[in-house]
C-alpha cells in the first residue's frame, strides 16, 4: 500500500495524518504567511488611508472598504475551508482534518463578525442606519449562526470524536445552504426594494484605490492562513496533550 501511495505521489498527503508532522509543518509555515501578510497589510493601509484620494461620493468614509471587503470575503472562505476539512475528515476518517475544521470555525466566525461590524459602521454615515434587512447583510448574519451552530455542536459532545463527526455532517449540510443564501440577494430584492448595495462596484473602482484593496485582500488572506496555522497547532496540541511529543514541544 505504501509503495502504491508513493508511486502515485500521495505519500505527502498521508503524512498530514501524523500530529507531530502537521504541528511542525504549521509551525514552519507561520512566518512564511505572517511576514508577507504584515508587509501587504502595511502597504495596503498606507495606500488606502493616506495615498489614495477621498471618494467623490463618499468622502473619506469609503476607506472602511479596506477592512470590510477582505473580512467579508474571508468569512465565506473560512466556511469553505471548514466544509472541505469536514468532508476530508468524514470521507477519509482523517482525525486531523477535524482539528483543522475546529481551528477554522472560530476564525471564520471572527471575520464574519468583523465584516458585520465594519458594515454597520459603514452603513451609518452612508445610508443613515446601522442595519438594513438587505439579503446580503442578513445572509452574513446567518453565516455567523452557521459557525456558532458548528462550534456549539462540536463542543456539546463529551466524546470529541463524535463531536467532530457530528459537526462535520452539519458543516456539509450548511454548505448546500450557502449558495442559496448568497443568491437570495437576487431573489429577495424583488420583494424588499431599495437595498442594492456593495455588489458589482469592484470593477469600477479607480486604480489608485484598487491596488491598496488588492493588497489588503491578499494580506488578510495570508493573515488568515497564519492565524489558521497557529490555531491548528494549538488544536493539535490540545488533542494530543497526553502524547510524549506534545510534552516535548510545549
Amino acid at each position: 500500500m505504501a509503495a502504491l501511495n508513493n508511486k502515485y505521489g500521495w505519500a505527502w498527503f498521508h503524512r498530514f495524518a501524523s500530529p507531530p508532522y502537521l504541528y511542525r509543518v504549521a509551525g514552519f509555515l507561520i512566518p512564511w504567511f505572517a511576514w508577507p501578510a504584515a508587509v501587504l497589510i502595511a502597504a495596503g493601509l498606507y495606500g488606502g488611508l493616506w495615498s489614495s484620494p477621498p471618494d467623490y461620493q463618499q468622502g473619506d468614509g469609503f476607506r472602511i472598504i479596506y477592512i470590510h471587503v477582505p473580512s467579508a470575503y474571508l468569512s465565506m472562505m473560512g466556511y469553505a475551508i471548514l466544509a472541505v476539512a469536514s468532508a476530508v475528515g468524514l470521507v477519509w476518517r482523517m482525525k486531523l482534518a477535524h482539528a483543522v475544521a475546529a481551528a477554522a470555525a472560530p476564525l471564520g466566525a471572527s471575520f464574519t463578525f468583523l465584516a458585520l461590524v465594519t458594515g454597520a459602521l459603514w452603513g451609518k454615515p452612508m445610508w443613515g442606519t446601522y442595519w438594513v434587512w438587505d439579503a446580503r447583510l442578513t445572509s452574513e448574519l446567518i453565516l455567523l449562526f452557521l459557525y456558532f451552530g458548528f462550534i456549539a455542536l462540536q463542543r456539546a459532545y463529551e466524546d470529541s470524536r463524535s463531536g467532530d463527526r457530528a459537526a462535520a455532517v452539519l458543516a456539509l449540510v450548511g454548505v448546500v445552504n450557502l449558495p442559496i443564501i448568497h443568491y437570495s440577494v437576487v431573489w429577495w430584492n424583488s420583494l424588499h426594494q431599495g437595498a442594492t448595495v456593495f455588489v458589482g462596484r469592484g470593477s469600477d473602482i479607480a486604480p489608485g484605490m484598487l491596488w491598496p484593496l488588492l493588497c489588503m485582500i491578499f494580506g488578510f488572506t495570508l493573515l488568515f492562513a497564519a492565524c489558521l496555522a497557529r490555531s491548528v497547532q494549538a488544536e493539535v496540541l490540545e488533542r494530543e496533550r497526553g502524547a510524549a511529543w506534545a510534552a516535548e514541544v510545549a
Binding site: F145, L153, V169, L170, V173, V176, I180, W187, S190, L191
Partner: protein
C-alpha cells in the same frame, strides 16, 4: 424493501396515534403564536393583511421545531434505532420513512390549519391556494432538516437547547421563499418563481438529506 418501509410507516403512525396529545402540540403552538401577533402589534386589518404571510410562515417554522427533538429520541433511548441501523434496509430509507411520519403528524396539521389562521389575519381568500402549497412544500423541507438536527443531537442531554440553533439557520431559505410566494400571491402577483425554487429545494433535500441523516445517526450511535 417497500414492504419494510410501509411496515415502518405503519408502526410509526400507530405510535404517534397512541401519543395523540403530543402530536397535537405543534398545531396548538402554531395557533397560539399566530394569535400573539394581532394581540401584540395591532388588530388593524390592513396591517394584519400585510404581515400575514410572514407571521404564518414564522409560526409554522417555530411550531415545526417542537416535534423535532422527539423525532428519534424514543427510538434512540429504547435501542430500536440501533436495530434499525443494523437492519438490512438502508438507513437512508429508514430515515426517509421516519421523516414522512414526522411530516404527516406535525407538518400536515399545520398546512391544514393555515387557511383558517389566514382568514383570521385577513389574508385574501383567492391567494389561499398558494399559501397552502408553499407550506406543503416548505414543511416537508423543514421535516427533512429537522431530522438532520435531531439525528445530530439525539445522543446529547441538552439537545433541546441546541436543536433550534442548528436547524433555524438552515431553514432560512425556506422561510424566505415561502413567505415570498405567499406575499406575492396576496398582492396578485405570480408566485410561480418562488414556488419552483421551493420545489427545487425539496427535490434537492429529498435526494441528499437522507444521506446526511443516516451519517448523523451513525455518529450518534457510535458515541
Amino acid at each position: 424493501m417497500s414492504r419494510a418501509v410501509s411496515a415502518l410507516l405503519v408502526r410509526d403512525l400507530k405510535l404517534a396515534y397512541r401519543r395523540r396529545g403530543e402530536v397535537l402540540t405543534p398545531a396548538m403552538f402554531f395557533i397560539l403564536v399566530t394569535i400573539l401577533f394581532p394581540l401584540g402589534l395591532s388588530p388593524q386589518p390592513e396591517l394584519l393583511r400585510s404581515i400575514a404571510p410572514g407571521v404564518l410562515w414564522t409560526a409554522a417554522l417555530l411550531a415545526g421545531l417542537i416535534g423535532q427533538e422527539s423525532l428519534l429520541k424514543g427510538d434512540f433511548e429504547d435501542g430500536s434505532l440501533e436495530q434499525l441501523a443494523l437492519a438490512p434496509l438502508p438507513l437512508e430509507l429508514t430515515a426517509l420513512a421516519r421523516v414522512a411520519t414526522h411530516w404527516l403528524t406535525t407538518g400536515l396539521p399545520l398546512v391544514i390549519l393555515a387557511p383558517l389562521l389566514g382568514l383570521m389575519l385577513d389574508y385574501p381568500v383567492q391567494a389561499m391556494g398558494t399559501l397552502v402549497l408553499s407550506l406543503l412544500l416548505g414543511t416537508s423541507i423543514l421535516s427533512l432538516l429537522g431530522a438532520v438536527g435531531a439525528a445530530l443531537t439525539v445522543g446529547l442531554r441538552q439537545s433541546g437547547m441546541l436543536l433550534p440553533i442548528l436547524v433555524l439557520p438552515l431553514a432560512v431559505p425556506v422561510l424566505i421563499f415561502g413567505a415570498q410566494a405567499a406575499a406575492q400571491a396576496a398582492h396578485g402577483e405570480d408566485p410561480a418563481g418562488a414556488l419552483y425554487l421551493m420545489a427545487a429545494l425539496l427535490a434537492l433535500g429529498l435526494t441528499l438529506i437522507p444521506f446526511a441523516i443516516a451519517a448523523a445517526v451513525r455518529v450518534s450511535l457510535e458515541s
